[in-house]
């Protein structure tokens, strides 16, 4: 394609948007509405995921050892636990460290009470592992493994928390999938309807172009420019709207529901938009591109 033809197609594509104001407006509106809904959904899912991840991090298993266990045995156990795929980290706390931490937590206002123990560590047999999980759903099998390991006296864990988080994560996944499916179906329906209107409007124009001797690519190029520009405009509008909506909603939730939100943290606006901007522009541009190709293809066989 010659440069002058390329520029001509580009200019014609943009002029087409103006020439078919109603169609362009309808297309931008349809794409904007779909992307706005998807954007909201993405923000909610991303934040749920973020909260679930945070909650997972707080789940830990504490392992106490048999009295008089040797340091070698403890090292061996640590190695065996770390090898398991569901384990994120294993932190060893010695009896002295446990006592120091206990003193700090409970006797900091009355240090003389702790003095009574002098060098006699009351937590002498309380050295422990704190295990963080990367996959909370595997907690049960890990606990079984730990309980059956020699040298382990006691395993402290919370079934309820782990199960609740696992179930919640699953539920969020299912709901997200359902809503995304519905939104995509609605989006495709709306967009195909708009494209059908476009076909009716352009049928004669494409026919004239072809009878004059235009090649397929010459007919198609301005439509593609038009489609992609409409798609990108259609994606940009909801992005701007979502930016302000997200900022205000997070501010409102943090202000109004302090007791609930103090346990959770929301994703920062840039963390959401770093994914959402390219995603929305790609979906918008993609819908415009595919829509315009479908619109034109049907009528190129003249």
């Amino acid at each position: 394609m010659k440069i002058s033809t390329f520029v001509y197609c580009l200019v014609q594509g943009i002029k087409n948007i103006r020439r078919n104001k109603l169609f362009s407006l309808a297309s931008v509106g349809t794409i904007a509405a779909c992307i706005f809904m998807m954007g909201i959904l993405y923000s909610v899912i991303a934040n749920f995921q973020h909260m679930v991840d945070k909650a997972k991090e707080s789940v830990s298993i504490t392992v106490f050892f048999d009295e008089g266990i040797s340091p070698d045995k403890i090292d061996y156990l640590k190695g065996a636990i770390e090898k398991r795929p569901e384990v994120a980290s294993v932190t060893y706390t010695s009896a002295d460290e446990a006592w120091a931490s206990f003193k700090k937590d409970y006797f900091s206002s009355n240090p003389e009470l702790a003095e009574g123990f002098k060098d006699d560590n009351p937590l002498a047999n309380s050295s422990y592992f704190e295990i963080k999980l990367s996959d909370v759903s595997m907690q049960k099998s890990l606990v079984t493994f730990l309980k059956s390991s020699s040298g382990v006296r006691q395993v402290n864990y919370s079934d309820v928390t782990a199960n609740a988080i696992t179930d919640f994560a699953k539920m969020v996944g299912y709901i997200s999938l359902t809503i995304i499916g519905v939104l995509l179906a609605v989006g495709i329906f709306l967009i195909s309807n708009t494209v059908m209107i476009g076909i009716a409007v352009r049928k004669e124009e494409i026919r004239i172009m072809k009878l004059i001797g235009a090649t397929d690519y010459f007919v198609r190029a301005p439509f593609i420019v038009e489609g992609v520009v409409i798609g990108i405009i259609g994606a940009s509008i909801p992005l701007i709207a979502l930016y302000f909506v997200y900022r205000e909603v997070v501010k409102y939730l943090l202000g109004q529901f302090h007791t609930i939100t103090s346990n959770f943290s929301f994703l920062a606006i840039h963390e959401v938009f770093v994914v959402m901007i390219p995603m929305a522009l790609a979906i918008g541009g993609g819908i415009g591109l595919i829509g315009s190709i479908i619109t034109v293809r049907k009528h190129l066989k003249v």
Binding site: R207, K210, I212, G213
Partner: protein, 228 residues
């Protein structure tokens, strides 16, 4: 230039549109195709433009066998054939200048040549003053002249006119026919499908008459001798 050999065309429904048509048109000829509605005139134009494929027979235009012409080569065939329709078929959202220039854009003509060619065509069809008007601001005759300018701007060797005066009053019809004659004098082969008895009789050109898809007469200097 244009050769139809035993060309037949049937649609999936109804009677055949053309039956074993043999036509031979030389370079530089001016030919009228006449016949009543349903005689196959428009089918003939569509076959020449390769909008339709014949059911049987072969068609050659400018030495190209349309039957073996690949789909991606069809635009190049059409560029050598200017076409004018009864309903003008102008791009409604573009002005006169842009409508004519469009035919040149299609074949990727450099802008400096377009700027020279389009005014020359406007002058030929007598619409130099109206280059900024949109189709809806023009009369039927003026719109047909724009369509004619668009058909001729690329210097085609053949001009196909499908009922070019069908929507025009007698005065405008005559102006269009005079333009077609002038174009023919410049060397372009002109093929006019028409119903207009008065014009056919007065111009005394070659007349091919179709009836129910069959060529019933082909006269060198004929008249509209077919009764509707």
């Amino acid at each position: 230039m244009i050769v139809l050999n035993n060309v037949s065309k049937s649609y999936s429904t109804g009677a055949p549109a053309l039956k074993e048509v043999n036509i031979h048109i030389e370079k530089g000829e001016f030919v009228f195709i006449v016949g009543n509605s349903g005689s196959g005139k428009s089918t003939l134009i569509k076959l020449l433009l390769k909008e339709l494929e014949p059911t049987e027979g072969s068609i050659c235009v400018n030495g190209k066998n349309l039957g073996s012409l690949k789909r991606n080569k069809v635009p190049y065939l059409r560029r050598d054939m200017g076409v004018v329709f009864q309903d003008f078929r102008l791009l409604k959202d573009r002005n006169v200048y842009e409508n004519i220039a469009f035919a040149q854009r299609v074949i990727e003509t450099p802008t400096r040549i377009i700027k020279r060619r389009v005014p020359a065509m406007l002058s030929l069809v007598g619409l130099s003053e109206k280059y900024r008007s949109y189709p809806k601001e023009l009369s039927g005759g003026e719109q047909q002249r724009v369509a004619l300018a668009r058909a001729l701007v690329n210097n085609p060797s053949i001009l196909l006119a499908d009922e070019p005066t069908g929507n025009l009053d007698p005065r405008n019809s005559w102006e269009i026919m005079k333009l077609l004659e002038e174009i023919n004098h410049r060397g372009t082969t002109v093929l006019v499908v028409t119903h207009n008895r008065e014009i056919v009789d007065a111009m005394s050109k070659r007349v091919i008459t179709l009836n129910k898809g069959v060529v019933i007469s082909d006269e060198k200097k004929g008249g509209y001798d077919y009764e509707d």
